[in-house]
Structure formats: structure tokens, C-alpha cells
Symmetry: D2
Subunit: 478 residues, 4 copies
């Protein structure tokens, strides 16, 4: 296992091409725009060495028997699935935001299942190849970006029907030593501070989409890979101090990129699907369900911080005991624990796959994320309600620090005598950071948009059995 | 274990005093008002003998090592807690309503914990006495009514402050051979078809309320016990046929009574608390949390039937595929599975008590029931939406069967040619039964009113820790 | 204008054929099943003679210049539209339920608009004929049932495509002296205590549906008319006393019927549409929009009573001042006044039609009813929350009055010393009556089901203009 | 009346002291941070000269009989109140954000009422003095900032109890020629581009708070006035181009300031309250109710743009016709029109005050804003849902324009062939701008926080009358 420093050093050795705001980011570890995202991911390394979190943060490899970082683990029990959720909540309580590493974690577990299925059906040998890859990841404690979402172009068309064939990643050449892929992956969480990306399909495919059925691993700095770093809410504040960013240590969400693959070569030992289009849909579902499982963990942890910040703001404002404030805090708790319950339940109700790892209950996992798309908006709304209009009109950090205006701000934004004005502002900026813009949109679309969950909920429900139940009671014979 | 017939026979041997609508009910098994409630409870006996439900419906006694009906079991693992939830959902899918037996089940597990605690603290010997009682229940497969809710009188006053001291059950005499209790218990689910009731306190108590700290068992037909049967929505229809009741086999909710205790004598071997007021509050909390755990089981099962009936109605109306209907069915599924998740999660996250049985996670158990108080109203609303105005204006069963009007009804309430008008009406009547009046109110107040859960959610949350998390991220030092 | 007694006398002179629960109702005024519905409608006559309500309850006829009951009025201004809403709220506060007479009121105003349009387009003379009819209604102060909803059969098929051609009312014969119609109208509010029904189409029609394009007036006791009275929640209690019905004076909703038209002859002077299918859709929309306007009036009045009953229950329980109770009452007020606002706004924003009467703003009128389908469920849920589990398990009136059990009920259901137990029970029964079953379903489907409003909201919105606004601000040229 | 250019020129003549991000803003008209806010306010001048908006944008002065900008008008009818709402919606459709001028408009109408009341009760002569001021405003078409919200310090304490007496604006000296005031006003909308501010109290006051009972007018550049400009979401993007700001022309909300009053002198002719503490509470309520009236106007206009942008995004993504998208758009429309209805209704139900101007219905006005605090969050949530994850991860404008990366972005963010990638990004940036951070928080707290409305709703409801209604129907005598 790597510790935090080793992780940072390992990133310093990579040379990914990253564009951001018209310039190149050459040092992800120390660039003020990417540094907080790196810090978040680094937390997954750091906590693995803290004894009190050992049980959650580490596991025993089913492949090597060695102690590994849980983020590289293949789940061996429902207990492992539950621990994943608890680990995510615990880390999020410390970062207040996404720490990115679950995407690759989920992609690996999904790929483990699918390569086994494909091999059994098609006589291929992806599974052993993938096991070798996972061993390597476990031993080197790598951070893998899970790369699913293609740009998708015209949403009314399948990959093969698009005007531009590159709107979904596809194989443009099959060679003796490997394949060449082209396309791009959008919304790539944690990409710039990962070691490699695990490419997988993003939608169900038909026979005409064969070249789009591709899964493989590509180093983040492989030739032909270009990353364009996305713009986040209030990103510019990172260049100007530490108060106004709200969460200066860990930023917001996962530092998403558009990652372009310009005819990138992948050797066969890193190719795990190559044309088996019939398995694309279930591949997507395995990954998506594992990933939806997470949101009652990490978002509950994020929400714990929001609840705490809101309670602190009420205290700073001088009215922690008002009944309507307590009632709103309870509502936030209720919503968040409900979301958490869904993650725990879909884990506890998981089952062993034919490949040997454990998989969540699909129906229940889809409720997790659908709740999240509502809960986080409601929690943010209630946080705004209690915090006060203040969070929308706060002065600039530079004016707080300026001798000309700082004393006015100190004086007039003072509230409860128990807190300094600066601390009150810091808490408000944290809330601002966590309850608007990018953070909300991620709660909506991370791990798939609501309609995707709704389709799954319907598909996973046995409606005929439910109708039978009703007919029995209504004494309806047909 | 008793089977269904043995249960019915056992009821026939009891002679409880039951008043209902100005008359006496002398035969609960065959009286048209109580019969469907008996049928619901009987399902807990019947299913225990069906091989496919053996794993859910039965358990191995921790006291005797024998196979017992799960409803008499002391939970021995979190798996037992999860199985309880699944058992409740499964039975509710078959009855479409409350089958009443969980109340005593929960009261027994709570009493097992509390008697152990009291004995350790006070040197009493309630626990062994209670174990003897549970053995007897297990061997005779008795149905025990859990009797918690006192009438409470003026809600702004504690038991000892009430104008009438009998508003909470209390000890009026301590004798050599036992105690004499007076008072009443309201909303007594399943009482008239139980064998005995397990009395426990309903609120926290102070030293001045010592006589109100009483737990004991009383046969339903003990001298001095009077039951007044509550009136339910559309109860009169049970006397008039089988269509209009909607669920003629299993009725609505649990046939609740006001059970009056007129100076009832209880021998010491059936007394499990007698004055230890300091333990009243946690007794209430143990019972309530166990009982709140259930609602994502039984109400999810009830809701499965509602969803099925709604889907069937859409089909009968000729428009099962309309996108807005599918979307509403999905919303119902989402809400119901979310509620179910809460029950599964609070069970999977349960823990062993010092007494040796397993107890749910209190925080999570309180989210279950708070969700239920919203979910069942929303599910009912969506069911009404899809079913159509029809459910509010349907003609009488007698008119459907009358030669003068039956042909009009047959003709004009016909819809899809795939279903007869009578069956369409039957399905609508089932929905009417399950989505209004008594059924809704029970979803609100069974296992406690929403405010009770809210108080618990706040108490069980570590708000200081959450504030610390926020302060760390905001870099606030104080 | 008729007063209450004259109205009752006028009903006694009619001889409608009414079937109910296997028997004939021969005297709607005094039959215990229909009497409370008659009382509700009678309120529209009674209040018209009370000076304090004269401004709301009466108007000056635009046809005769005489003072008339507002329910027979053709709206002459937006002020008239606003007064209609206020009148409805005021009456509903006194009846706690539907008083039925608005349906015909709305049907008349819609028919006034449509007959004018049809005449102008087709050279017919329906409009003058209809004016003569309205004059007659005004002078005799008749109660007209608005008869729109056909049984509809298979919802996936148009009238002409149904297996049974009678699923929508249609013309089966055109004679020199009039027409003969066949079919039925379902959910007919107030029918049995109206003088006549105004038949209108229920859906848009094509050229093949010409015979279904029919509007006409039929006396409720015309030969061939058969009424089958619908069964309401807890209707049987009306035969057993006055407490358990909750609202013994005024019942629930509008005493809906299935009204069968067996080849009923209608003379030409009472025919207002006969084949002009092209106008069916807008006819439906005019009627529906007028009718949806009402719900923020009458349902707000009903909800005022629910709010008052809930506040009273909190008081009777001894805890009127608890902050969570006050907060829930506020939420109820907020929801109800919001719904009322919609009715006021769609009225104030009304406009004059080419026929000369005033019509509501269609877009806004559709928000009224869509809100109602949510508001009344939420209001009922909050009422249940505050009132307590009591409303689901109350004893029978007969047991309260029985010497054997009455004293127990008096004793144990006593709460605040300020109220008798009987009064506490009465209030709970009122709440039970107003918040479940038939009452809720009517809030959902009266004046059309939610999807009907949603379709109208989309149609009435200028989405292209909204997109233009966005493009201007985003500086998007195409 | 001034036109847009005259307004800009008039601002250029003022010399307010404005601090922002550690520097001074010396030219509000052309500084990139303030310019878009100026543009929004300028719209209120520009549209007044457009014939199609003349009826909404202008009025006839009740004081001079001259044509004036409506924003300087004293409402003379409920029609004026309705026109105000329609004007606000129309302007917001053009700016997509706050145009600031209603605050002073509302403050003037409230002051007109209160000065009349105070004079009548106390024999003062504020009212005529205020009329002279309004005439001056009307003739010079000034923009007046309404300055109510004090910093408030410790929320558990009244003004006179604060540790620092300056937490509420107060009189520090009474001189022959005027008064001297000290304190600050927070969240001052439109302040830097107004001509003067109208100070009014922010809370109810007791006899000990006499010095806090002050209303007066102060030029924005009076000696002793210091403005500190608040930081908004993504404000830094204004310095970097026009795409990423989303709404580059008109910014977000109202450019709020903390405005410090350092012993500012105010001559008597501009003092309208000076010690009459008994009128503070109703002053606040008049202003607040007028201001809450607005939100169903301006926010509905803002939401119209959001709905349009969302519909456009669905189109750009290639799936405008998907049923779930249409359904969500309908939900947005429903919510927005409901909010609008509340504004229309509270206006139509307004009444004449003893001072002669018209005032809204207080109860109904408070529902407007309470709805807004939910509606705008829900509308934003639905907009995010439809727009896609894209809005959280979009690349920087600089990268779109860079020759190195622009072609990748063009290629991979292309969707429907009907739109360019840049336009798709522009639309997404507009949505991002309008649905997060500052914009949401303003919907919550502008015109008061939700709890303020809830208190008013309860106070304005006649609960005793509602209880009477229920008692009548339940036949409860006491």
C-alpha cells in the first residue's frame, strides 16, 4: 500500500497533458486548481495507515492474500459491501467532497464479473488477463479512473447512428500487439490525479455497434491522451486565498475532465472486452449499480458536514435552540439517514456472483441514487434557510483582510459573541461551497441521471407478481 | 407450533368480554366483524407450516432449542432481524393488511432486554421469570398482544398529574400473591384474537409515578378485563356481502380495541416490572424501535398489493402503457423500496444486547416509521390518481347483484374487454379499502406519531461531532 | 328566487327513479342516505336570503335585469368570477363538503359560449334557444346538474371505436319534434336533488363521432332516466345515529350517481348541440376550466373546516401550543391559501368572451385543480398527524351511548378538562369524515384527473417564447 | 422620466465609495463587476420608453398628474398592484435576474402609509415631507434603494440589548438642522447604482429602542457612507469573457452591498420617522408584504427563462419529445404559474389605505414568498435533471477559444446537429448561472426568510373562526 506521500510522489512521475483555462497544468500536485482534488484522493491513501480506520480502509486480497487498500479490493462478502459504504461516509466526513477513487473501484468489480461471463459465453480469456491487472493494481496501490461516460452526441441516436462516429469510444484498429481506440470520455472524475483509466462501454449496443464494445486500461499519460479540465463553481477563488473557496483543502466534486483519446494504442494484456456487444448493457448495469450504491455513503458524509455547518451557523447567529431550526435539522438528518439506509440495505442484500465477488441488490441500489437526486437539493435548501441571506452577499476575502474595510466587516458581520466574524464567514463560505452549483449538479447526475434509475426500478420490479397479490385479495379470478 | 385450525380452536376456548356497536361479540372466530382480523392473524400460524416459508416463519428457540414460530422468538442475530422484516413483508403481501402479531413479538424482545437491565441494577429477578413466560409462549405458540398505549388524558400532563389517576395503567394494590392493576390500554391491535396481553409502560416516568411503572401479562379473558371494539372505515359493509369490503378475507388494520382493566389481579410470576420507574423510558424506546423497524416490512407488503392493484386498474381501464402511468408506478415503487431499505438497514446494523438478544439500530429504525407516515399517503394518492374517480362513486354490491340494476352496472362500468365489470369493481374496492381512512391513519400513528420519531432522531444524532467535521473543513478553530 | 323550503318542496314534486343498495329511494328529501346531500344543496338557496351574503349569493341577471341566485348567473365581469370563488369558499365553510350546484352553473356558462360560436360558424340557432332556457332557470331558480362524464369504457378508444357504442351518450334518433339519446353519465354530482341535467360532451370528437356531439337538457325524472346512487365511505353510519357520520348534516361530496339514459326523448327547444363535433373539444375545455376554477374556493372552504377541527383537536388533547403543531397548522394554511390564490388569480385574469359572458384564464385555472390534487392529501395527512391515532380506533356511537360501556368511553377518552369526551369524539369523527376515502378521491378526480390539467398546462404555455427569452440572454443566435 | 442613457449619465455624476475585492470601484457604469447589475436596473428605464410596455412601465402620478415611471408610483388601485406584478415578470424575462428597483418602490409605498399613520397619531408632519420627496423622485425619475435589513448581530437580542449598539442603524445626534445616524445596512440590493437610499427599521421596537426608530433618505455618496460590494457566485468569470458568466449582460441578483453609515448627517426634510418606535413593526410588515408580493412576478419571469433554457437544452441534446422531459417541464410550469397566481391574487385582493394608496392582501402576499423559497429550488433541480451532467463539468471559455483545445471541445460537446457546440455551451452556462449559489439563496432570503412568512401566516389567519366552523359541523356546543 502507498501512503499519502508515496501517492503524491507517484503522481509527480506522470506526465499527463492537461489543459485548463487556456494554459497547461504541468504539476497536478501543486497547481492551485488541482491541488485540493489531489488532497481529497490522497485521503484514501492517508487513512489506510490510521489504525482506527484499518478495518474500513483495508482488506485482504482475494487474489494474493495480502493486506490491500480497500479501493483495490474485489468484494468478498456482503460485509465487504457494507464496509465500502461506511468507508465512503467516513472519508466524505473528512473531505466534505468527492474523493474520486470509488469510480475505478466499481469499474474493477464490474469488469471482474463481466470478463468472467464473456469468457464463459465466448471462450475468450479476458478474465485471467483482468485478474493479472487487478493484482498489479493491488500491489502498486494504484488509483484507477473509471471511464464510462461517452460524450453521446445526439441523445436520440445510438453510437453507430451518430453523424460523427467518435461520439462514443471505439476501436479503430485491431493489431497483433493490441488495439487502437478513438473517442473521448466526459465528466471524468479524478482523472488528472489517477494513474490509469479503465475504459468501459456507456450504453447497450447492437451488432452494428461492435467496435464500440471495448474495455481496456490506458495510462493517464499515454500518447494521444489529452485532458481538458472542467470549470467548477467559484474555481477562481482558489487563486485568491483560503476563505472564499469554502473548502480550500478539498475543493468540490472530483475535478472532472473531458478526456480525449486520439488513436491511443492499448496492448492486448490491457484489453478486457473487444467486440462482445451483447454484454455491454449488463456491464453498464453492474457498474452503475455498484456506483449508485455509494451515494448513501459519500453523500451522507458530505451531508453530515452540511448539517454540522448549519447547526454551527445557527449557533453563531445566536439562535441554536429555536424550534423551527431544530425541526429543520431533524428533517435534514431524516433525509440523510434514509439515503444511507438505502446504501446499507442494497449492500446487506447483495449476493455472490458467478465470478466470485459480491454484487449489490440492483433494485435497492437504484433507490439510493434516486433519493440522492432529491435529498441533496432539499438538504441544501434547508441549510440555506437556516444559515441566512448572508451566504449570498458576503464580502470578499480581500476586503476582510484590507485595513480600509476589514474593521467594518469585523464589526458588522459579528453575531454571537462566542465566535469571531472571520470564523462565522468561514463557516458560511463552507456552506456556500457545499450547497450550490457543481456540488448539486453532481448529486443529480453522478452515477447516472434520474431517468436511468427509474427505468431500472421498473425493470427490476416483478409487476406481474404484485398484480397477482392484488387479484388474490380482490378475489379476481382472471 | 399451532397450525391455523389449532389457533382458531384455541380462540374458541377463551371467553373475552367484547363490546361492539351496542352488542356483545361472543365468537370472535365467526363473527363477521372480527372474522377477517382473525384470518389475518391466522396467516401467521398457517404459513409457518408451508415449506417455502419455513426459513422466514420459524426459528430455533434460544431457550429450548426447539423449532418455534418466529413470532415467539428472541432475535439471535442481525440475520434474525432481517428475516423478521422479510417475513412481515411476505405475510402482508398475502393479507393486504395488518396481521397484528408483531406487537407482542416486539414487546417480548423489549421486555427481555429490560428485565435483564433492571435485575442487574436493582437485584430483582424479573428476567428469569420472564424467560419462563417466553418458554411457555413458545411451546404453546401463543399470540400475545403488546399493550403499550395508555389513553393519556391531558397530553400536557404526566401520569401522576392527571385529574383522573387511571389515565395510565397503574398498580392499585400489592399483595402477597401478586398485584392489582387499573386503567386501560387504547388502540390495542389484535387484542380480541390474542391469548394474553403483555402490559408495558407508555412514557418516561419520575419517582412520583412509581405505581405507573408496571409490566405484566394478563389473559384476554381475565376477570375485570373489558374490550370495546373500535369502529373502522366501512366496517358495516362486512355484514352485506364480499365485494364492497374490498378485502373481505382480511379486513383493515388490526381490529383495535379500548381494553379496560378494572382492578385486574396479576400473580407475581407474570409481573415483570413493578415500580422501577427509572427504566420506563428506555423500555418504551426498545419497544418502539423494534416496532418502528417493522413498517418497512409490513407496509411495504401492503404497498406491494396497492401497486399491483393500481397496475391492474390501469390495465382494466385500457391504458397500462401510458407514460404518465408508468412513471407514477415507478414513483410508488421507489418510495416503497426506500421504506423497505430503512427496515433492512436498521436490522443489518443491529447489535447484541447485554441480555443476549439482538436489537435494531435505533437511529435508523426511527427513519423507517417517519418515512412510512409520508410514503403511505403518497402511495395512496398516486393509486387514486391512476385508478380514476370511479373509486369514489361506485354503486353498491346489492345494486350490482339486483336484476333491476345489475345489467346497467355491468354495461356501463365495463372498460377493457379483458376483464369483467365485476372484477374491475372488485379491484377498485380493494384499492378503496387499502388507501383511505383507518388504513392511512394507522400508517401515521402506529408505533408512535411522527413527532416521537423526530425527537428520537435528534437525540440519536451526534450533532457535536457533525459540527466538528464542519469546523475542521472551514478551518474554524473554536 | 326560491328559498330553502321552496327548494325542498320543488324536489318533493319530482319523481326520479333512484336505486340505492338494492332498494328504491322515493323521497330524496327525507331519506337518510340522501337527506344530507339535499341539505348541502339547500344551503345555496338558504344563504341567498341572508343579507350578509347577498352580495356573494345573488346577482342581477344580464338577461332579465332581475335579482337572481348567483348559481344561475352568466358572469358579467371578472368581479363576478372572483365573487363566485368567494361564494364557494363561504358556503363550503358552512357545509364542510360539496354543495353540488356549481357543476350546472359552469355547464351553463360554457354552453352560453359554445352555442354562440357554433351558431356563428354553422348558422344554427342554439344560442337564442339556450338563452331562453337560462331565463327559465333563472326565473324558477332551478338546480341544474352539469352532466359531462361518460363511462368511457376502454380508455384507449374513442367513442366511435368502442365495442359497445353506448359508452358515450349519443343520438340514436333525430325526429321532427326532437332527438332521442342513449348512454349514461357517471359520477353525477347532485343529480338526485337537481331539477334537470345539462348533458354535454366529455371528449374531443372526430367526424366519425358526429352522433356523440350532443348537448341538451333532460329533467331528472324524464321517462327512461334511471339513477343508481353511488356508495360513499361510511354511508351506512347515516342510518345509525349522528355522531359517527362526522358531518351528519351535510354528508360527503355530492351524492354521485350513475345516470342511465334509456332512449330518452329531448324536444328541440332543449337541444343545444346536435352533431357539431368540431366544437366538442373546446366545449370540454370551457366547462373544465370554469370547473377547475372552483376548487380553490370550495376546497379551501372545506380545508378551513379541517384546519379548524385540527386546531380544536390539538386543544382538546391539551397541547394547542406545541411548536410542531403550530408549524403544521401553518403549513396547512399556506397550502390552502396558495390553492385559493390560484382561484382568485384565474378569475381576476379572466376576460370577456364573444358571447358576452366572462371566462377564466385557462392556464391559471388548470393550476388550481392540479394543486388541489396534492393539497387536500397533504392537508389530510397533517390533520391526521395532529389529531392522533384516536381517529382510527374510536368506539361506536352505540357503545358510547350504551349504559354498559358508555362510562368507560367517557372516562378513558377524556383529555383536556375543557371538553367533554363526546365533543372530543364528535370532532374526531368530523375529521375522519373529511380526510379519507370518498373526500380524497373527489379532490383528485373532480373536474378532471391530474393528467388532463397537465396536458392543458403544456398546451397553454408558449414554450417557443420562453426559449426565445433564454436564447436572448445566452446570446444564442439560432 | 429618464431613459437608459440619462440614467447611466446620472450615475456617472455620483461619487459613491465602493470597495470590492481589495480595490475601489470608481465607475459603476463601466466596471466589469458592476456593469451587468447596472444594465439590469437600466432596463427599468429603457422599457419605459417602449410603446408596447407603456401601460405596464408607466403611470400617471397621483401627486402631479404627470406621466411617470411606474417604479416611482404610489399605487392608486388594485389594477396598479396587478400591473406591478406583470411589469416585474416582463422585465425579469428580459434580464433573467433581479433589476433591483422594486425595493425602493416598495419602501416608498410603505413609508407613504406609515407617515400618514404616525402624523395622525403623533401630530408630526412626516407625511407632507414625504410627499415632497416622492414628487422629487418622480420628477427626476430616481432609483431609490430600499434599505431595511440591519446586520442584526446576535439574533437572540433586540437592538438595544446588543453588545455593540451599532448592529442596528440608530440616531446618534439630534440637531437643529437634522439628525446624525450610525450603523450599517446589509444585503443592499442595487445600492451602488441607485441615487439614494431610503432607510427604514428592520424589526419591531420597544420604548427602550427609540433611537432605532428612524426612517430617512441618504444619497449613496453622502459623506460617511461606505459601500462594500458582496461576492457572488462565479463573479470572477466576468473579467474573463462572456460565455462562462452565463448571463453576461445582466449578472445575478442585485449586486448586494454592506453599506456602512459612519455618523451620516440627514437634514430634517429627508427624515420620515424619528423615535416613533410603536410604528416600527407595522412599517416592517407593510414593506415586507409589498415586497413579498413581487416574487411571483420577478421570479416567475426568471423561471420563464429557466424553463425556456431547459426546453432548449433538451432540444439541443436531441430529445425534446421524451415523455419524462415533457412531464418535468410541465411540473416547472405548474410550480411557476402557481407562484405567479399568488402574486396576482394578493394584488387583486388589495385595498385602499387611509393614506390613499393601495396595499396588498397581507395573508396572501406571505404565501407568495413562502412558495418561492421552495419553487425556485425545485425548478432548479428539474432544470439540472433535464440539462444533464454537462452543466457541472463544462470546460473553460479560454479552452473553447484556444486553437489547441477548441476543436476537441467543438467536436465532443456537439449534440443535435441543429445547434453549434458553442451555443449549446452558452445555454448550459446560462442555466448554471440561474440555478445555483447566489440565485438560489436570494430566492430563499430576499424579502425575508421563510420563518418570517410563517409567523405572518399564522397571525393573519382567524383560527378562532375556523374552529367555530368545525364546531358547528361537529355539533360541538362548547
Amino acid at each position: 500500500m502507498m501512503n499519502k506521500e508515496q501517492y503524491l510522489d507517484s503522481l509527480r512521475k506522470l506526465k499527463p497533458v492537461i489543459h485548463c483555462n487556456g494554459r497547461r497544468i504541468t504539476d497536478v500536485v501543486d497547481d492551485p486548481i488541482t491541488r485540493p482534488h489531489v488532497n481529497s484522493a490522497a485521503m484514501t491513501y492517508e487513512l489506510a495507515f490510521q489504525p482506527e480506520y484499518e478495518d474500513l480502509m483495508t482488506a485482504t486480497s482475494s487474489l494474493t492474500g495480502k493486506k490491500i487498500n480497500r479501493f483495490t479490493h474485489l468484494h468478498q462478502s456482503t460485509e465487504d459491501l457494507v464496509k465500502k459504504v461506511k468507508m465512503l461516509r467516513m472519508i466524505a466526513q473528512k473531505t466534505g467532497t468527492c474523493f474520486q477513487r470509488c469510480v475505478g473501484f466499481d469499474a474493477m468489480n464490474a469488469t471482474f464479473i463481466v470478463t468472467d461471463k464473456v469468457d464463459k459465453a465466448c471462450g475468450t480469456n479476458y478474465h485471467q488477463r483482468f485478474i493479472d491487472f487487478v493484482k498489479y493494481v493491488q500491489e502498486n496501490d494504484l488509483m484507477i479512473a473509471g471511464s464510462m461516460t461517452d460524450p453521446k452526441g445526439d441523445r436520440s441516436k445510438k453510437p453507430g447512428q451518430q453523424v460523427d462516429p467518435d461520439m462514443f469510444v471505439h476501436i479503430v484498429e485491431r493489431r497483433d500487439d493490441g488495439i487502437v481506440v478513438r473517442g473521448a470520455k466526459a465528466h471524468q472524475t479524478g482523472m488528472v490525479n489517477s494513474h490509469a483509466m479503465l475504459i468501459l462501454p456507456t450504453t447497450n449496443l447492437g451488432p452494428e455497434d461492435k467496435d464500440y464494445a471495448v474495455a481496456c486500461v490506458i495510462p493517464v499519460d499515454a500518447p494521444g491522451v489529452v485532458h481538458i479540465f472542467g470549470r467548477q463553481t467559484n474555481d477562481g477563488r482558489r487563486l485568491q486565498g483560503d476563505i472564499d473557496t469554502g473548502n480550500s483543502e478539498y475543493a468540490i466534486v472530483g475535478g472532472e475532465t473531458l478526456t480525449v483519446l486520439n488513436d491511443v494504442f492499448v496492448p492486448w494484456n490491457l484489453v478486457f472486452m473487444c467486440g462482445e456487444y451483447q454484454f455491454a448493457q449488463e456491464y453498464v448495469e453492474y457498474f452503475a449499480s455498484y456506483h449508485r450504491q455509494n451515494y448513501g455513503g459519500c453523500k451522507a458524509g458530505v451531508a453530515d458536514v452540511i448539517i454540522g455547518a448549519t447547526a454551527a451557523m445557527a449557533e453563531y447567529n445566536g439562535i441554536p435552540g429555536a424550534s423551527h431550526i431544530k425541526d429543520k435539522l431533524i428533517e435534514m438528518i431524516h433525509l440523510v439517514e434514509t439515503m444511507y439506509n438505502c446504501s446499507i440495505a442494497c449492500s446487506a442484500e447483495g449476493h455472490k456472483t458467478p465470478a466470485g465477488n459480491y454484487y449489490v441488490n440492483t433494485l435497492l441500489a437504484n433507490t439510493v441514487k434516486l433519493n440522492c437526486t432529491r435529498t441533496m437539493y432539499e438538504v441544501s435548501r434547508l441549510a440555506h434557510d437556516i444559515a441566512g441571506g448572508f451566504i449570498a452577499t458576503l464580502p470578499y476575502e480581500a476586503d476582510l483582510k484590507s485595513p480600509e474595510t476589514g474593521h467594518y466587516i469585523e464589526k458588522y458581520f459579528a453575531a454571537s459573541p462566542k465566535v469571531t466574524t472571520e470564523n462565522r464567514i468561514r463557516m458560511a463560505r463552507l456552506l456556500e461551497n457545499m450547497t450550490g452549483g457543481t456540488a448539486l449538479a453532481e448529486s443529480m447526475h453522478g452515477a447516472g441521471s434520474p431517468q436511468a434509475m427509474r427505468v431500472m426500478l421498473y425493470r427490476e420490479t416483478n409487476m406481474e407478481q404484485k398484480k397477482e397479490l392484488a387479484k388474490n385479495l380482490a378475489k379476481v379470478k382472471v
